[in-house]
């Protein structure tokens, strides 16, 4: 699965121009507000980069955690090919649903996290009223931002989990975050300029990418059961 990090970067890039621009631009606005309130220029300086650094760190951390859980899970049910195959098929199903959700065809997965989202909102509400913002607050706020229940992030996490290696999953999730950066750092207007495909098209591209991942996982599950043959391309196992 060596190409996984690159795929995640692509997912971030496509997905962010499709989805995040609309939603997370307001979040940027919201989270930079403490900086505007702060009097000292020292605190404000570097606020935005720190905010995104915090967000990316959360992604990386979540990636490592998810992969760790995945690893523990695969080791806990070792050597049972059928169980492994079943797990892969379950993941495939979820991924395909996520692809449909990303395309706007079914209710988004965020729906399942309404309570969590409300908690997140409460937490952010407490943090954005800081009287004297410090620079590390930007990092923490960014970290909190990364926790915002988001279908795209969860999709990326699910994909990262399949690597079974916390380190590469962390790198992959960080790359996913890097992929979202252009959209987040004010390049959102590009999507309205006509030089790029429209947002709806990008959205379908992201959905397609997730769909392909889903298919890959499904094939892997079937291969584990021996129903299809394992396929490799130059030493990299596709399924």
């Amino acid at each position: 699965m060596e190409f996984m990090p690159i795929s995640l970067l692509m997912l971030g890039l496509l997905g962010s121009f499709g989805h995040c621009v609309g939603m997370c631009s307001p979040v940027t606005l919201l989270l930079t507000r403490p900086a505007q309130r702060g009097k000292s220029s020292r605190a404000v300086h570097g606020w935005l980069p720190l905010l995104h650094a915090g967000r990316l760190s959360t992604y990386a951390l979540l990636g490592a955690l998810a992969a760790g859980v995945g690893q523990a899970l695969t080791r806990a049910v070792p050597q049972v090919r059928y169980v492994q195959g079943l797990l892969a098929l379950v993941v495939a199903g979820v991924l395909i649903y996520m692809a449909l959700a990303a395309a706007g065809r079914v209710p988004p997965v965020e729906r399942a996290f309404t309570v969590l989202t409300r908690r997140w909102g409460d937490a952010v509400r407490q943090w954005t009223v800081l009287a004297t913002p410090r620079r590390y607050h930007a990092f923490l706020l960014g970290g909190l931002w990364g926790l915002l229940p988001c279908g795209l992030v969860y999709t990326a996490l699910l994909i990262a989990t399949t690597t079974g290696n916390p380190l590469s999953a962390a790198v992959g999730m960080a790359l996913f975050g890097v992929g979202t950066l252009p959209a987040m750092l004010g390049l959102g207007w590009l999507s309205t300029q006509g030089h790029l495909p429209s947002r709806e098209v990008l959205r379908y591209l992201a959905a397609g990418l997730i769909f392909l991942f889903g298919i890959q996982m499904a094939l892997r599950g079937l291969a584990a059961w021996g129903w299809v043959a394992h396929t490799r391309v130059g030493g990299i196992m596709l399924w």
Binding site: G18, H19, V21, G22, M23, P26, V27, L29, L30, R33, Q36, R37, A72, R75, A76, G104, R105, V106, P107, P108, E110, R111, F113, T114, T117, R118, W120, G121, V124, R125, Q126, T128, V129, A131, L148, P149, C150, G151, R199, E200, R203
Partner: protein, 774 residues
């Protein structure tokens, strides 16, 4: 074809929109939440929300709280309440487990406030609800956990034994796996029952940027648990479920000891309140009925049967009998009360049926005032407590650094997992919990012990200062003598003595000086009712001036005569001198530019005074008597008591003497007439039962009318401070030794936890021993 709606925030189309209250569609909860956030923070940047105007109608209420672990918890609750819209003020008292909220009932109600507190994981009860006993809840958790912990220990001992006795063989390896799984299953509920409260406290403290021992324990226990779970899943050999569970168990036992100690400490206050009945039998014009004491108007007539406690403060109208006042004075012998005497709420009629005219109810009674003062005492922290807090705050980062150092060192020689265990031991043993617990507890117990003996100490820092007192001043008037003064001589020039006395008594009637009270009482005893006067004025250290029937009356000492420019006939001067030689207090009275008569008042010295001064000397305290009375009267005292006496002093001169004295000084006075002197001293002690306790300008109030309380209190304060020092020294040495062992990797985490609990137990026991101080 499914209809598509566009999300009002992100602009993407969706087939399954969510709608908010205004009917705007969103594609997902996240978009909705963000939109709400944007709306709620729509205020322009840089503007601070103006405080709500003070004239809006607000209500005040007190919520009872539960499951608080440390002061960080009270901080969290306080902040949460303060941030609730509609709340103007919020204060949480950790010791009382109460939250006082001032809120706008239009915008928020108590139910919602309680719910917010509960959402943080604490318990909250509305006013009127009976809070669950915290100790009981804790014991329940502990008991359930005990079952699991015992299970864990038995299983663990089997596993230890297997290794130690060399019985391990591949054949039984599957059994080890099985035991590991049972350990996990048994440890899990312990982590939930005992671990979650500690974890919450630890995280909150971290959030507050004041990490404390709970933060460390939470980190230690949960890292041990997670590491073990990982090892269990991956099939590695070592698990530390026993460490994690035992750690939490022992720490919770320590916490339970603390809760118990605090409960013991606050019993005296509770006993006071519990004895004051909430209802009274009101004899109103419409007949007798039982009513809550709050609705009684001033002057209401209340009946009390034998064996019943008085529900109000008041004056006995009819009936007589013995009254048990031990609740207030600590004096076990009942006192005889008859019509005209004052009785207090909470004291018990032993054998009499009384009818009492109410003078004060509820918080205005002496019992209520004592309760309030004790309540206030809990809020204030003594300097030595703050010292302990500061030490504790320093110890935590030190412990963390040391633990990290231990981990780094041992991870290179012994591997990561043993290193983690050694670091955990270091964290545990370095925890300054005994330190933080012992000092306030000791002072607290001292305070309670004093209250039980009828001595009210305003706060714990007074106790600390009392221990250092090396010089005691007595303000003679009313403190060295037993009330009332006796009027023993009246000399007049022309008038009838009774008519003279009537005028003098009239002028003195509004005054609150003991001399004045004695004169008025003597006049009444002779059947003279003093007529009312106008333009009454009291001149401190001189006497009084008043107008009666257009005539200006002067009653006081020589200084007043000089002030009023009254001539003193030589015969009266001679009489006055004779009276003074006899040791009496002399009061002159004059009008029409001339002194008309002299009154001599005799004072009975308190029977215990010799003993008190002997004891104070034995305690290494200098004793000095300051008095405004004439030097000759002072000499008599100097002779009788063999202590220095400074007589003929004005209040200013008294203050001067007090401020001149070296070292911490205590001044004993009656608390009303010598307020400045008491305030000037390091410790002001007011003697004599005063109905106006809260107003007395004193740090210590002797409710029991007995001076022997003063040396007793000094001894108590010294004993308390000695215990504080003992405990601090003990904790320091103990922790240092433990720390050495832990850093060297010679102390198992479980043993470290045991050591910690043992230390706490020792220290609390030492503090509670003060309860038996006599």
């Amino acid at each position: 074809m499914v209809t598509k709606v566009t999300c009002s925030l992100c602009g993407l189309s969706t087939t399954a929109p969510l709608y908010d209250r205004e009917g705007r569609p969103y594609c997902c909860p996240a978009c909705q939440e963000v939109a709400q956030l944007l709306e709620s923070s729509a205020e322009p940047a840089g503007e601070v929300r103006p405080p709500s105007p003070p004239d809006t109608a607000t209500e005040e209420a007190t919520l009872a709280l539960g499951d608080l672990w440390c002061t960080s918890c009270s901080w969290l609750i306080e902040e949460t309440l303060k941030r609730t819209p509609g709340v103007a003020q919020a204060q949480v008292n950790f010791v009382r487990r109460e939250a006082r909220v001032v809120y706008d009932p239009q915008r928020v109600d108590l139910n919602r406030l309680a719910k917010r507190v509960r959402r943080l994981g604490y318990r909250a009860w509305l006013p009127g609800e009976t809070p669950q006993d915290e100790e009981e809840a804790l014991v329940n958790r502990l008991l359930i956990s005990t079952v699991f912990v015992m299970h864990i220990m038995v299983t663990s001992f089997i596993l230890y034994g297997r290794d130690l006795l060399g019985l391990s063989s591949p054949d039984t390896q599957w059994l080890v796996q099985f035991f590991h799984i049972t350990l996990f299953v048994a440890a899990l509920p312990v982590m939930f029952l005992l671990g979650l409260p500690i974890l919450r406290t630890g995280l909150v403290s971290l959030l507050r940027r004041q990490p404390n021992m709970h933060t460390l324990i939470a980190i230690g226990a949960f890292s041990a648990f997670i590491l073990s779970t990982r090892n269990l899943i991956l099939g590695y050999e070592h698990v530390y479920f026993d460490t994690a569970a035992m750690l939490l168990f022992l720490v919770t036992i320590g916490h339970w000891l603390e809760v118990r100690a605090r409960n013991e400490g606050s019993k005296a206050v509770e006993r006071l309140w519990r004895q004051v009945p909430r209802e009274a039998l009101w004899i109103s014009p419409e007949g007798e009925k039982r009513v809550p004491v709050d609705v009684l108007p001033p002057g209401a007539r209340v009946r009390v049967q034998p064996g019943e406690p008085f529900p109000v403060d008041g004056v006995v109208a009819t009936g007589a009998g013995d009254v048990d006042e031990s609740l207030l004075t600590g004096e076990p012998v009942p006192v005889y009360r008859q019509p005209g005497d004052t009785v207090h709420a909470g004291t018990i009629s032993v054998d009499g049926t009384f009818e009492v005219i109410t003078t004060a109810v509820g918080g205005d009674t002496v019992a209520g005032q004592i309760g309030r003062l004790l309540h206030q005492a809990l809020w204030q922290r003594a300097p030595v407590e703050r010292l302990a807090d500061r030490l504790a705050a320093l110890m935590v980062p030190f412990a963390v650094l040391l633990a990290i150092g231990t981990f780094v060192f041992w991870s290179r020689t012994a591997g990561y997992e043993p290193a983690l265990m050694y670091a955990l031991s270091v964290l545990l043993i370095a925890c300054p919990c005994a330190l933080g617990l012992a000092t306030p507890l000791t002072l607290w117990v001292g305070l309670q012990r004093a209250t039980e003996q009828g001595m009210l100490v305003r706060n714990t820092s007074v106790l600390e200062r009392l221990a250092h007192v090396r010089h005691v001043f007595f303000d003679k008037t009313g403190t060295l003598t037993r009330h009332p003064l006796r009027l023993s001589a009246v000399h007049v020039r022309h008038e009838d003595p009774n008519a003279f006395l009537a005028r003098v008594a009239a002028a003195e009637a509004p005054a609150r000086h003991p001399l004045a009270e004695a004169i008025v009482a003597a006049a009444r005893a002779r059947g003279i009712e003093p007529p009312p006067v106008h333009d009454f004025e009291a001149l401190p250290g001189q006497g009084v001036i008043a107008r009666l029937n257009g005539q200006t009356l002067y009653v006081g000492n020589e200084r007043l005569l000089a002030h009023a420019q009254l001539t003193l006939p030589s015969d009266l001067q001679e009489v006055g001198e004779q009276l003074r030689q006899a040791g009496m207090s002399v009061v002159y009275a004059g009008w029409d530019g001339q002194v008309q008569g002299v009154i001599g008042l005799d004072e009975d010295p308190r029977p215990e005074i010799q003993e008190v001064i002997k004891e104070l000397h034995a305690l290494g305290c200098d004793v000095t008597i300051l008095t405004g009375d004439a030097p000759s009267a002072g000499e008599r005292w100097a002779h009788m008591l063999n202590v220095p006496v400074y007589a003929g002093l004005t209040p200013e001169e008294k203050m001067h003497y007090i401020q001149q004295a070296r070292g911490p000084v205590a001044v004993v006075g009656d608390g009303i007439n010598d307020g400045p002197a008491l305030a000037a001293a390091d410790i002001g002690i007011a003697v004599g039962q005063s109905t106006d306790i809260a107003r007395a300008a004193a740090d210590v109030i002797l409710i029991k009318d007995d001076l022997r309380g003063i040396p007793w209190l000094l001894r108590l304060a010294r004993a308390a401070m000695r215990k504080v020092r003992q405990n601090l020294a003990w904790a320091f040495v103990y922790n240092l030794i433990g720390l050495g062992l832990a850093v060297a990797g010679q102390l198992q985490p479980i043993l470290a936890a045991f050591a910690m609990v043992a230390s706490s137990l020792l220290v609390t026991t030492n503090a509670l021993r003060l309860r038996r101080f006599t």
